[in-house]
Amino acid sequence: MLNQSPTCSAGDLIIACAAFISHKEVQSTMDISQQLLQYIVSGLSTGAIYALIGLGFAIIYNSTGIINFAQGEFVMLGAVLTLSFISALQLPLLLAVPLAIAATTVIGVIFERLTIRPLKNATPLSLVIITIGVSILLRGIVMLLWGKDTRALPAFSGNDPLSIAGATILPQHLWIFALTGLVIIANKLYFYYSISGKAMRACSFNRRAASLVGIDVKRMVLFSFMISAALGSMAGIIVAPLTMTAYDVGIMLGLKGFCAAIIGGMSSGLGTVIGGLILGTLESLGAGLISSGYKDAIAFIILLLLLFIRPQGLFKKGETERV
């Protein structure tokens, strides 16, 4: 419009715009704000998932210095195991979910016992390669046993959408928000009010000093793998009814969780949670408003920009904030 009439004044423009808006029905502007709300709701729910996965990354990183590339595989295992407990053993969902979380936790324990613990003098880089090996191995096993099909987990309480403030919310979204909230509270309580949680924080500040005051560092490392596996599998289970699951869903989810943890400055507290929520929301808005094909690229562009501006993560104030 501006190009066609370069001589038009600002007044003309306002009239033209007003005409343009009234021409479209008022309903359409309502739609836009509703749509925005919709993007934000779904963004927050994926963000909550990223936050849970990111917490797993941060917890292992803080106790061992390893970036665990098998974190995404915990996510995949949670969903796949729940599905197979339901279909093969005919278990109800209520039983299958805790069982799947427990099974993934056991896998996390075996993983730590067999590969991380025996290596005393390994460099962090070779430990990272080992976690990549484990992720390839787990993915391969699941692919062989469960095949390459994409399957959906039944929603926890139906698929009837609820309408809240103009946005349509699936019951599963509410489950995600509620369970993530619970996990964050439990996480806080554990790290700040329990002996083993405090011991884990001590390990993350200084492993040598922690072992000098009598903390069993090896046990703390094992705990960190257990907690991460449990968190990851839970994230995988609660998101599976919305996004479906397959043997390879862990890759992208894992990377996004890693993004969330980095934005949060690798803290195993609120930083990573907010990092995940920001990431999820911006990604969902970007996918909806700009282009869905570039959805994943948007997440990483945000991340790169953040890293360039604040190389230490968004919320990192000092060493004492790290857990």
């Binding site: 990183y61 390994a122 390669i129 090996g133 390839i136 990377l255 994943d296 360039f308 190389p311």
Partner: protein, 320 residues
């Protein structure tokens, strides 16, 4: 230095004579890939093994080189050698510009940033369908030719690729044994100490990052011209990880180690064909166990293994 020359000449002889032993067309094809992967691993090792800076997005530079050459030659009919030069130059410039903000980061932040860069580039390959052909790929890339010789079969490509590989290895060996190489290792051990000694750490890191990207881009151009078809799947996150694995399994900070790593990880999937569907599991297990039991990589692991198998020789070796 003399020993280095002897080692390199032996390698050259082996590479030149190898085709006489393996006349099978399929194996020649695999060996072409080994050459390309060796170039990539050597390039990445300069950054990761010598300067100590991780990159989880090196497949992006490889892909940019390949697509640069591919698009210029297949769509715009530019001379392949000129296309290679142009795309290598463009990738180097890009790496140089991106290098400054990225290499300011350290540790896992650097890992994440390079990983993100790799994924963004991969998505761009997939989404810019008009330019790259999208997920279904870009075909019709011409072979390279020199006077009347066209590199159009595996045998000719073998010599072309390995010529480049040996050249890049020689240059890298020279580089790491030079003043610059010592400065890089100083940065690896302690950046602060290196800076105190007068090394411009920031610029040098960006320069080695650029060189590494340049080598990857050249490898990418060669890949495009030998394959004549490229698709985004070859340049994803997985390949970046595989490159890092080659460097680490081979041995950090050893040019010959990168050669060994590239040879092993390129041949391994071919050898594991016998396991059929189980190959990915065996691959994962091997990766885990090799990293666990050979922490110094193949360059240190193989001599140690031989010494372990031949206790008599080891004892004699110790006395000598």
């Amino acid at each position: 230095m003399k020993r280095e020359m002897v080692k390199f000449l032996i390698l050259t002889a082996v590479v030149l004579l190898a085709p006489l032993l393996f006349t099978g067309g399929y194996l020649m094809n695999v060996l072409v890939f080994v050459g390309i992967n060796t170039m990539l691993a050597v390039g990445l090792n300069l950054l990761l093994g010598f300067a100590g800076q991780i990159s989880l997005g090196h497949a992006a530079f490889f892909g940019l080189g390949a697509y640069g050459s591919g698009i210029l030659t297949a769509t715009y009919a530019v001379n392949p050698w000129l296309a290679m030069l142009l795309s290598a130059g463009a990738v180097a410039l890009l790496a140089f510009l991106v290098g400054f903000p990225i290499l300011k980061l350290k540790g896992h932040y650097l890992a994440m940033a390079t990983l993100g860069l790799g994924i963004i580039v991969y998505i761009v390959f997939n989404e810019t369908v008009d330019l790259t052909g999208g997920p279904s790929g870009l075909s019709g890339i011409p072979n390279l030719s020199f006077w009347k010789l066209t590199f159009d079969n595996d045998f000719k490509n073998y010599y072309l690729i390995w010529g480049f590989t040996l050249l890049i290895m020689l240059l890298s060996i020279n580089l790491v044994n030079s003043r610059i190489g010592r400065a890089l290792r100083a940065i690896h051990d302690s950046e602060v100490a290196a800076r105190v000694m007068g090394v411009n750490a920031r610029l040098l890191k960006v320069q080695v990052f650029t060189l590494s990207a340049l080598i990857s881009a050249v490898a990418g151009s060669l890949y495009a011209h030998t394959m004549t078809f490229i698709s985004p799947a070859s340049f994803g996150f997985h390949f970046s990880i595989e490159l890092v694995t080659m460097v680490i399994i081979g041995g950090l900070g050893s040019i010959y180690g990168s050669l060994l790593g590239a040879v092993l990880l390129t041949l391994l999937p071919e050898l594991l064909r016998a396991f059929q569907d189980y190959d990915i599991i065996v691959y994962g297990l091997l990766l885990i166990s090799m990293t666990m039991f050979m922490p110094g990589g193949l360059v240190k692991g193989i001599p140690a293994g031989i010494a372990l198998l031949l206790p008599g020789r080891r004892r004699r070796g110790e006395h000598a």
